[in-house]
């Protein structure tokens, strides 16, 4: 590719945040009309590169930028973000932070209005953008009432309304389930083919995006370490593993029934930790869970799976005692009934940042034991060592990496020795390297007897870790059984599967479609 054909040109780009080098002498060209995937472990500089392309990096305090960037012939350092917006559109991870208006049509018109375009031109661009993203039917809906996937499509449409030639997306599927991800990616593919858009997508989730990409770039510690066709780049499994990236060579099965084998022929010999009988729960007038009958036994590692809106988080809240059921029973084992809710259940929310409330890691971990007047100092060291946080004990939890934050929140939860540990979608914002370390830690806990309920729509977690899978759909349990183990008795390998790994499905009879 010659410089003339490249719509993005980066030469010796170096970015420092304070004394930290976020990008170190990065050079690359991106061809017009191409579909490029940029990946790498958390903190490798992917998002910084996106900010450099859009010119936003120059608005971050204490930032030093050296090198040259040209996007569609424009130098981002010499133009305002408003001037660049009609050349490069940037879509971020969290749709709710990219929406500034009440309705979809107003949102899509926002950027053209900012440029002072005539009313007729604005209308034409809105129409184009809505049609290009396939959301014309949503034009009069209020954006705050849309699903995350729909909101992300609105964010893309609002950027497209400026008719940029380049679209950069920074982890756009992080908060989306599989269906929404597929829809978003097919939209991007269509935009690339039909509109000639240059697409640059930054993602951890290689499985769904890599087949669409024409080029893959892997970054690490601010540098490009691999660049080429996806098949070549992802063939180096050792490098991927070392970087904490996961690329399953076999397409994961998205039919949840296939992950569940026959239910147990008889319940475990121990008394259940908790039993739900005829449980119904919801919010306001909306009923989310319908007639749930479920028992969790000590020492189980259970995956609770289902699409967005199935009721997984609602069930977690009921188990944690923070949502009262409307009817039915929640029966704890007799020995646990007198314990406070936080000693019975440890609940890890989706975003670790939301549950880091103290200013130092050791304060965070000791907060719970101090409140309950347990031996805060004695257990603190053990937990910090187990969670690999000893060196970070005096650091601010909020200043740590996503993986370290996750471990801190987990350590703070485990400090109270809960009998049931619930993790609600722990994959958010995590690369596979961090996530696999977290999951290995959980496996170690489970081997020591900790009961774990993992809520996820990430199929590779199901493959690797759960011994029992409960499938929730529209508030009802559609399947409940054990994951099949290989003949050696080991956990199932990664999704390079054999057909024998998926036995016939026998879902619960009631409510099965």
């Amino acid at each position: 590719m010659t410089s003339d054909e490249a719509i993005i040109q980066v030469r010796h780009l170096t970015v420092h945040y304070g004394s930290t080098c976020a990008l170190c002498d990065v050079s690359l060209d991106v061809a017009a009309g191409s579909f490029t995937l940029i990946s790498g472990p958390s903190g490798c500089g992917k998002s910084t590169l996106a900010l450099c392309l859009s010119g936003l990096v120059h608005h971050i305090p204490a930032t030093r930028v050296r090198g040259q960037v040209r996007v569609d012939g424009m130098d981002p350092s010499a133009h305002s973000p408003a001037q660049l917006a009609s050349h490069l559109g940037l879509v971020f991870q969290n749709p709710s932070t990219q929406l500034f208006n009440a309705t979809v049509s107003e949102e899509v018109a926002f950027a053209p209005r900012n440029l002072g375009l005539p009313a007729e031109e604005i209308t034409a661009r809105v129409t184009f953008a809505l049609q290009a993203t396939g959301i014309t039917h949503l034009s009069q809906r209020e954006v705050r009432h849309l699903s995350a996937g729909e909101q992300q499509l609105v964010a893309i449409a609002s950027v497209l309304a400026l008719r940029p030639r380049v679209l950069v997306l920074d982890e756009p599927t992080a908060n989306l389930d599989w269906h929404s991800t597929e829809r978003l990616l097919s939209t991007l593919r269509r935009l690339q083919r039909e509109e000639g858009l240059t697409v640059v997508i930054i993602e951890h989730r290689l499985q769904t995006i890599a087949p669409l990409a024409e080029r893959a770039i892997i970054m690490d510690t601010g540098r490009i370490v691999a660049d080429g066709q996806p098949a070549d780049v992802f063939a180096d499994k050792e490098r991927l593993t070392a970087l904490g990236l996961y690329y399953p060579w076999h397409q994961a099965e998205h039919d949840l029934k296939k992950y569940i084998s026959a239910p147990r022929s008889s319940p475990p010999p121990s008394e259940p930790l908790i039993r739900l009988q005829g449980l119904e729960a919801g919010y306001g007038r909306r009923r989310v869970l319908h007639n749930i009958d479920l028992a969790l036994y000590p020492g189980e590692f259970v995956a609770l799976v289902g699409n967005n809106g199935a009721g997984k988080s609602t069930l977690a809240r009921v188990l944690a005692g923070i949502l009262r059921p409307r009817c039915g029973k929640v029966i704890w084992a007799p020995a646990l009934r007198r314990l406070p809710a936080g000693r019975r259940v440890g609940l890890l929310f989706q975003n670790p940042l939301h549950q880091l409330v103290c200013d130092r890691v050791e304060d965070e971990v000791s907060f719970g034991p101090r409140n309950y007047r347990r031996n805060a100092d004695g257990g603190l060291e053990d937990i910090l060592v187990a969670a690999d946080l000893s060196a970070l004990r005096h650091r601010r939890p909020q200043a740590l990496s996503a993986g370290q934050q996750q471990r801190t929140a987990l350590a703070a939860t485990l400090a109270l020795s809960p009998h049931l540990l619930i993790l609600d979608e722990p994959t958010m914002g995590q690369d596979w390297g961090h996530l696999s370390r977290l999951m290995d830690f959980l496996t170690h806990l489970n081997d020591a007897g900790q009961t774990i309920l993992l809520i996820t729509h990430d199929y590779k977690l199901i493959c690797h870790y759960a011994s029992r899978i409960i499938w929730l759909h529209e508030g009802r349990i559609m399947g409940d059984g054990t994951a099949v183990k290989s003949d050696s008795g080991e956990r199932p390998p990664s999704c390079q599967t054999h057909a024998s790994l998926f036995a016939n499905t026998k879902a619960q009879s009631e409510g099965q479609p």
Binding site: P81, A85, Q98, F100, G346, L353, T413
Partner: protein, 229 residues
């Protein structure tokens, strides 16, 4: 945006009702209330929702019930009690005035969509405030989730046993997380070319239909003032 009644008409109507409740004699409150109800029905009835709320009627009926006992000279016997007819009429007048004001406010504001409210602010030169309102509306759900997560985290970890510390930590965590979201919003808005200091020509807030409506209201006011019921 719908053609009429738009934000301009709603603003005119609210000002009209506020002025008339201050200057109309007591006996003219009922026709004013009827006008308010008609305007509310013209807007699809959304603004008339206070009429379905128990608290609204408790407040109104309380004043009507208390007034005969407290106001005016007691001139009516009702069983063992002595009540004031004058007090009853004073109570009814106060109640009608309150209903007019509450419904006018509700009809004027509630009938506006969030987008029209944003336009209202932009129309009076407050572009940034209109933008901020849109951001706030869309962040409400996210902020609610962050508050909830922080609250339950603290509670599950026994924070309720040290309530003041728990409240302090809840506020700090919630505000800090909210501002982090805000920084993401700043990036996204900048990437879409938003600049609050640059004003582009906006569609006028008041249109011809609003002018006609204003004249109609002046005529109605004249009738109410000059021809008592």
């Amino acid at each position: 945006m719908r053609s009429w009644p738009g934000p301009g008409s709603h603003l005119i109507f609210l000002m009209w009702v506020l002025c008339l409740t201050a200057i109309l004699p007591a006996g003219q409150m009922l026709p004013l209330l009827i006008t308010v109800l008609l305007f509310g029905l013209l807007n699809g009835g959304r603004g008339l929702s206070p009429l379905r709320r128990a608290r609204f009627w408790i407040m109104i009926l309380s004043i009507i019930a208390i007034s005969p006992w407290i106001l005016g000279q007691a001139d009516e016997a009702w069983g063992p009690w002595r009540l004031s007819r004058q007090g009853l009429f004073m109570g009814l007048e106060m109640a009608l005035r309150a209903i007019c004001l509450l419904l006018a406010f509700s009809v004027s504001v509630r009938s506006l969509s969030p987008g029209e409210m944003v336009r209202l602010f932009e129309g009076v030169g407050l572009k940034g405030l209109g933008f901020a309102l849109g951001v706030a509306l869309n962040l409400l759900t996210t902020l609610g989730a962050t508050i909830e997560a922080a609250y339950h985290t603290i509670r599950l970890r026994g924070g309720h046993r040290r309530p003041w510390l728990a409240l302090k930590l809840l506020l700090i965590t919630t505000i800090a997380n909210a501002l982090r979201y805000g920084d993401d919003v700043v990036k996204a808005a900048s990437a879409r070319g938003f600049d609050p200091g640059v004003q582009h020509p906006q569609p006028p807030l008041f249109r011809r239909a609003d002018g006609v409506f204003a004249l109609s209201l002046v005529a109605v006011a004249g009738v109410l003032l000059l021809h008592p019921w």
